[in-house]
C-alpha cells in the first residue's frame, strides 16, 4: 500500500522561476517527484500545480478546493511567490468563485488554514523578495506576514533563494516524510532549514583563500576574490559552494560572478547595488581577519 501525500502548489506574485527550478531537480528527478514513490511507500500526489497540471479553469480550481475540504489537515501547501495585499489584494487572483476572482491573499489564507504545513518556496514567498522591493506598488508581503495578519498559526518552513536550489525543496519534503515536521532547532531565525542554510557562502567559497590573501578581482574575468565586485557571500546563508547548481554543473561564483545574496531577507534592496562592495561593517567572519590587517 502506497501512502499519498497530497500537495497543493499555489503560485502567487511570482515569475515561475521557482517552478522551473523544481523541474531541474536531479536527485530525485522531477519525474520521480511527479510519478514515482518519492521514498519507499510514499508518493507525492501533486493535486494542483498551474505549470504542469492537465486541468484548466474550473476543473483545476475544483481539484484545489476539494483537496482542501476532503483532505483537511493532511495536505502540504506550497506557496511560490509573494502575497499582494494592497487595496484588498486585488493585484493578484487565482481562479474564480461565484463568477468573481478570488485574490491570492484569500487563497493563501484559506488553503493555509486547513493545511498540515506550509512551505514558502523561494525568496518572494519567504521574505517578499523582488515584488516587495520599494516602492512595492502591490503591497506584496511574505507568506509569514500574510498568515500573521490573518491570525493563522501553522507550521511554516521558508525555502528562500531566487530561485531556491531544487535540493533544498525536495530535501525538506523528504525530511517531512521521513521524520515529520522539522523541530524548532532544525530551523534558523528566518525559518530556513539549517541543513541547507546553516553556513555562509563565504565560509565554503573556493575563492576564500584569495580573500584571506587580499587578492581581489578588479574586473570580470580576473582571478581573485569577488568581494570588491560586490560579492554578498560574506552575509549570505546557503550551501551553493558545496552543492552547486543545475545538477552540480556550476554556481554563481564558479561563473566569475558575485553572489547577490538571494537567500537573504535583505534581498534585493539591502544586497543591492549588486556590483558594489559591501559596506565593511560587522561582517561575520570577514571582520575577524581584517581587524588585524591593514586594508589593501
Amino acid at each position: 500500500m502506497v501512502k499519498e501525500l497530497p500537495v497543493i502548489y499555489l503560485q502567487t506574485a511570482a515569475c515561475s522561476g521557482c517552478a522551473v527550478t523544481m523541474l531541474n531537480s536531479a536527485s530525485p528527478t522531477i519525474k520521480n517527484v511527479l510519478i514515482d514513490q518519492i521514498v519507499p511507500g510514499v508518493h507525492i500526489n501533486l493535486k494542483f500545480h498551474p505549470v504542469v497540471m492537465a486541468a484548466a479553469g474550473e476543473l483545476a480550481i475544483g481539484v484545489m478546493e476539494d483537496t482542501a475540504k476532503k483532505q483537511k489537515g493532511e495536505y502540504v501547501l506550497v506557496v511560490d511567490g509573494a502575497v499582494p495585499t494592497a487595496d484588498g489584494g486585488v493585484y493578484g487572483a487565482v481562479g474564480e468563485r461565484d463568477g468573481k476572482p478570488v485574490t491570492m491573499q484569500q487563497r493563501v489564507i484559506e488553503l493555509s488554514r486547513d493545511a498540515l504545513a506550509v512551505i514558502a518556496m523561494g525568496t518572494c514567498a519567504s521574505f517578499g523578495g523582488i515584488p516587495a522591493a520599494p516602492p512595492n506598488p502591490t503591497g506584496c508581503v511574505s507568506v509569514q506576514k500574510a498568515l500573521e495578519s490573518a491570525g493563522i498559526k501553522k507550521p511554516l518552513i521558508n525555502i528562500p533563494g531566487c530561485p531556491p536550489h531544487p535540493d533544498w525543496f525536495v530535501g525538506t519534503v523528504a525530511g517531512i516524510i521521513l521524520n515529520g515536521l522539522p523541530k524548532p532547532e532544525e530551523l534558523d531565525d528566518f525559518l530556513r532549514p539549517r541543513a541547507f542554510y546553516g553556513k555562509l557562502i563565504h565560509e565554503n567559497c573556493p575563492r576564500r583563500a584569495y580573500f584571506d590573501e587580499g587578492k581581489f578581482a578588479k574586473k570580470f574575468g580576473d582571478d581573485g576574490c569577488l568581494y570588491e565586485l560586490g560579492c554578498k557571500g560574506p552575509i549570505t546563508h546557503a550551501d551553493c559552494p558545496l552543492r552547486k547548481w543545475n545538477g552540480g554543473t556550476n554556481w554563481v561564483i564558479g561563473a566569475g560572478a558575485p553572489c547577490n545574496g538571494c537567500t537573504q531577507p535583505e534581498f534585493p534592496n539591502e544586497t543591492a547595488p549588486f556590483y558594489e562592495k559591501l559596506v565593511d561593517v560587522d561582517l561575520p567572519v570577514v571582520g575577524a581577519y581584517w581587524a588585524n590587517k591593514e586594508v589593501k
Binding site: S16, L23, F220, G256, P258
Partner: protein, 519 residues
C-alpha cells in the same frame, strides 16, 4: 449565446483568464485578461543601472536569460559599448541564450502543450519493458492521477502506441530540458536567474573544458531535437491536420532577430543576426524593422487615455481602474498602428521570407512532409512547427559557435557609468520580440520600460478596436462542447503565453473587483 470562462489557463507561465462568447458553436468574441501585477519597472527606478539585468531577469523565471540579455544589450547601448563587446562575450551570450531557448521550446511542446493532444491513459495498457513507461503504468494503477487528471475530455486522436511513445518522450524531455539548463549554467553560473551576462560582456573567460562540456551537452539536445522533437511535431500535425487552419490570427508577424553573428554595429535593428529582423504579412513579403513605429495603446486597458500611443522610450503608466470600456491590465503594443503577432513563427517566417537558404530548406522540407503550403504556417500547427524548427536552427549552430571561442582571451570590456544616457535592447525571447528601454539620470535609472512578447500576443483591443493576436486567433474557432473547450486552450497554448512578463509594468490604485468582470 453562451460564455466560456477559463480561469486559470494552466500550463503557461503565470495567471491568465480567457473569456469567450460562443454563438452557434463558434467563438464570437474573445477577451484575454492577466491576473497578476507586480510593478517591476517601477521597482527598477532609482537603482544602479547595472542592476537592471539582475532585476529584469526576475520579470520571468521561464525566460530569465532573454530578459537578462535584452537588459544587458540595453545597458551596453546606453553605456556606449554596444559595438565594443569582445567576440568571446558576444559568442558566450549566444551560447547561453541558445541552450536556453532550445530547452524552453522542448518544455513548451512536451510539458505545456502535449497534454492537449496525447492521451496519457493509454499507458495503462502498456505491456513492454520500458522502465519509464512501466513506472507511469504503476502510477496510473495506484489511482491518484493528479496532476495529469482531470482534463478536458474528447478529441484525443493518436493511436495507443503513439500515445505511449509520446508519454515516454514527455518523460525523456524532462531530462532534456534539464540538460539544456546545465549547458546554460556552464557559462552563466545557474539557471533560472543567471549571473553570467553583464554589461561589457560576460563574467567568465572561456576554457577548453567548458567549451567541450557545453558541446557534448548540446549534442545530446541536437540528437533529441532532430530525432524525437521534430518527428513528434510532424506526427501530431498529421493526426491533427485540421489545426493547420485553426487559430489563424492577425497574419502580421514581427521579429527583432536574435543571435548576433557580429558585434560591429551599435544598432541592433540592423546588426547581422542568425534570425533576421523584420516584419511580414499574409503575402510573406518581408519588410524592414523600424523600431520608431512601436507604440503602446491603452483605450481598452485600465490606463488614462492621455498616455495612449506612446513609444516605449517615452512610455508612461498612469492607471485608471474601472475605466469604462477597458478590460485588461495589459497594454496593446502595435507596430505602425497595426496588430502584430510575435514568437517563433514570426522569427522563422521572417528569416524564411528574407531568403535565408538553410531556413528555406528546413521550412519547405517540413511543409512538404505535411503536404502543406506556407499559408498553413499561420495556425496552431504552424506555431508548433515553427517552434520546433526554431529549436533545430539554433541547435545546429551552437557547436560551431562554441568552437569559435578563443580560450583565455577576454570576454569583457570595462566601461564608465554615464551620468545621463538612454538605451534600447532588442532581441527575440523564446516567445518572441522582446524590447527593453532605459533612461539614466544622475547615474540612476530614471525610467525603464520593457515591451515583452506576451504583451504583444495577449494584448486587448487597441484604440481603433482591433483585437489582439490571441483574441483574433480565438474568434471564429469552433467549440464542440462548451464544458470541454479543448479547441480554445489549444489555440491559446500555441502562443506559449507568459503572463508574468505581460503584466509587469503597472501601478494600479483602487481597482474595483466589481469592474473586473467582463460581460
Amino acid at each position: 449565446m453562451g460564455k466560456i470562462v477559463i480561469d486559470p489557463v494552466t500550463r503557461i507561465e503565470g495567471h491568465l483568464k480567457i473569456e469567450c462568447v460562443i454563438e452557434n458553436g463558434a467563438v464570437k468574441d474573445a477577451r484575454a485578461t492577466g491576473n497578476l501585477f507586480r510593478g517591476l519597472e517601477l521597482i527598477l527606478r532609482g537603482r544602479d543601472p547595472r542592476d537592471a539585468q539582475v532585476i529584469a531577469q526576475r520579470i520571468c523565471g521561464v525566460c530569465p536569460q532573454s530578459h537578462g540579455i535584452a537588459a544587458t544589450l540595453n545597458l551596453d547601448s546606453a553605456f556606449g559599448i554596444a559595438d565594443k563587446i569582445p567576440d568571446n562575450g558576444r559568442i558566450i551570450r549566444n551560447l547561453i541564450h541558445g541552450a536556453h531557448v532550445i530547452q524552453d521550446h522542448i518544455l513548451h511542446f512536451y510539458h505545456l502543450a502535449a497534454l492537449d493532444y496525447v492521451n496519457v491513459a493509454d499507458v495503462a495498457a502498456y505491456s513492454g519493458n520500458d522502465s519509464q513507461l512501466n513506472s507511469v503504468k504503476d502510477f496510473i494503477q495506484r489511482g491518484a492521477l493528479e496532476p495529469f487528471m482531470p482534463r478536458y475530455e474528447g478529441d484525443y486522436r493518436l493511436p495507443p502506441e503513439a500515445n505511449q511513445q509520446c508519454v515516454a518522450h514527455y518523460v525523456k524531455a524532462l531530462e532534456m530540458r534539464r540538460i539544456g539548463h546545465e549547458a546554460v549554467s556552464i557559462f552563466s553560473g545557474k539557471v533560472p536567474h543567471s549571473v553570467g551576462v553583464v554589461p561589457g560582456g560576460v563574467t567568465s573567460v572561456p576554457t577548453v573544458d567548458n567549451i567541450m562540456a557545453y558541446i557534448w551537452k548540446i549534442k545530446i539536445l541536437q540528437d533529441f531535437v532532430n530525432n524525437v522533437y521534430i518527428p513528434d511535431v510532424l506526427a501530431v500535425a498529421k493526426a491533427y491536420g485540421d489545426y493547420a487552419g485553426i487559430g489563424v490570427g492577425c497574419k502580421n508577424l514581427l521579429s527583432y532577430g536574435m543571435y548576433d553573428l557580429d558585434g560591429k554595429s551599435p544598432d541592433y535593428a540592423t546588426r547581422e543576426r542568425l534570425f533576421k529582423q523584420g516584419t511580414i504579412g499574409a503575402d510573406l513579403r518581408p519588410g524592414a524593422l523600424d523600431t520608431s513605429k512601436i507604440t503602446e495603446q491603452v483605450k481598452h486597458s485600465w490606463y488614462e487615455d492621455a498616455t495612449s500611443g506612446l513609444h516605449p522610450s517615452s512610455g508612461d503608466t498612469r492607471p485608471q481602474a474601472g475605466k469604462s470600456g477597458a478590460y485588461s491590465w495589459s497594454k496593446a503594443p502595435r507596430y505602425d498602428g497595426k496588430v502584430y503577432e510575435v514568437g517563433p513563427l514570426a522569427r522563422v517566417a521572417v528569416t524564411y521570407a528574407k531568403g535565408d537558404p538553410r531556413m528555406k530548406e528546413m521550412v519547405d522540407g517540413a511543409l512538404k512532409a505535411l503536404n502543406a503550403t506556407p499559408a498553413a504556417l499561420f495556425s496552431v500547427l504552424g506555431r508548433h512547427l515553427a517552434r520546433a524548427l526554431s529549436a533545430k536552427y539554433i541547435v545546429d549552430n551552437l557547436e560551431g559557435w562554441a568552437l569559435s571561442l578563443k580560450p583565455g582571451q577576454p570576454a569583457y570590456v570595462e566601461y564608465e557609468l554615464p551620468e545621463e544616457a538612454s538605451g534600447m535592447g532588442i532581441i527575440e525571447g523564446s516567445r518572441g520580440a522582446l524590447g527593453h528601454w532605459i533612461e539614466i539620470k544622475n547615474k540612476k535609472i530614471a525610467n525603464y520600460q520593457a515591451v515583452v512578447p506576451t504583451t504583444w500576443n495577449v494584448s486587448p483591443m487597441d484604440d481603433k478596436g482591433q483585437h489582439g493576436p490571441i483574441e483574433q486567433a480565438l474568434i471564429g474557432a469552433k467549440v464542440k462542447d462548451e464544458k470541454n473547450p479543448f479547441e480554445v486552450v489549444r489555440i491559446i497554448r500555441s502562443f506559449d503565453p507568459c503572463i508574468a512578463c505581460a503584466v509587469h509594468c503597472v501601478t494600479p490604485k483602487g481597482r474595483d473587483l466589481g469592474q473586473y468582470r467582463v460581460v
